[in-house]
Symmetry: C2
Subunit: 110 residues, 2 copies
């Protein structure tokens, strides 16, 4: 699990890769489309994509000639879960909210 967190956090520690995720949040995209906004070579982008994929943040598809990428949200949930332990430190409403929800009838968190 530590290894997973290492990979995810370090994948996110780069503005190019975060921007790529931002693009993928709007939907599937090819490598060429992902590379377009950047002044970087295609291999550089492929390298970034590999880092993101190995961290589990994205997945590769296969479509005719291209290998479109899609977002893989589970990895983000992994770090969100890690952060949950700290949430009380900055989110003053968190404890109260949690408490509140547990008392509300008819609300199910799936």
């Amino acid at each position: 699990m530590d290894d997973k967190l290492d990979a995810i956090f370090s994948a996110l520690a780069d503005p190019t890769r975060r921007a790529i995720l931002g693009r993928l949040a709007k939907g599937k995209a090819t490598v060429a489309e992902l590379a377009d906004p950047f002044a970087l070579s295609q291999p550089a982008i492929s390298k970034h994509l590999k880092v993101l994929e190995q961290a589990g943040l994205i997945r590769s598809g296969r479509e005719a000639n291209s290998r479109p990428r899609v977002l893989e949200p589970a990895a983000l949930k992994t770090i969100a879960d890690w952060m949950a332990d700290y949430r009380r430190f900055w989110d003053q409403s968190f404890d109260r909210l949690d408490d509140y929800l547990s008392k509300v009838q008819g609300y199910e968190n799936d």
Copy 2:
């Protein structure tokens, strides 16, 4: 802001540093106390602390002979805010919860 996110994510991309944060979540600690659980030299720990401090994740105090560290939650909030844009991808209840809260009387999120 990108630089800030770079620094925070890359500070978190190391298990030693995350463990240090975990310790600090339980309260202020000296460098010696923070170093204790690890099979690392004192300078190595000091280096990690510097990384955490430069990312804004911790702060140094001054107390007699020692320089105790404390958690600085604002930095964690920074990445939580960044992640908020993606939350809808994994948290199915998020939209519903958000919607629900906006309709609840008497609840104020500060």
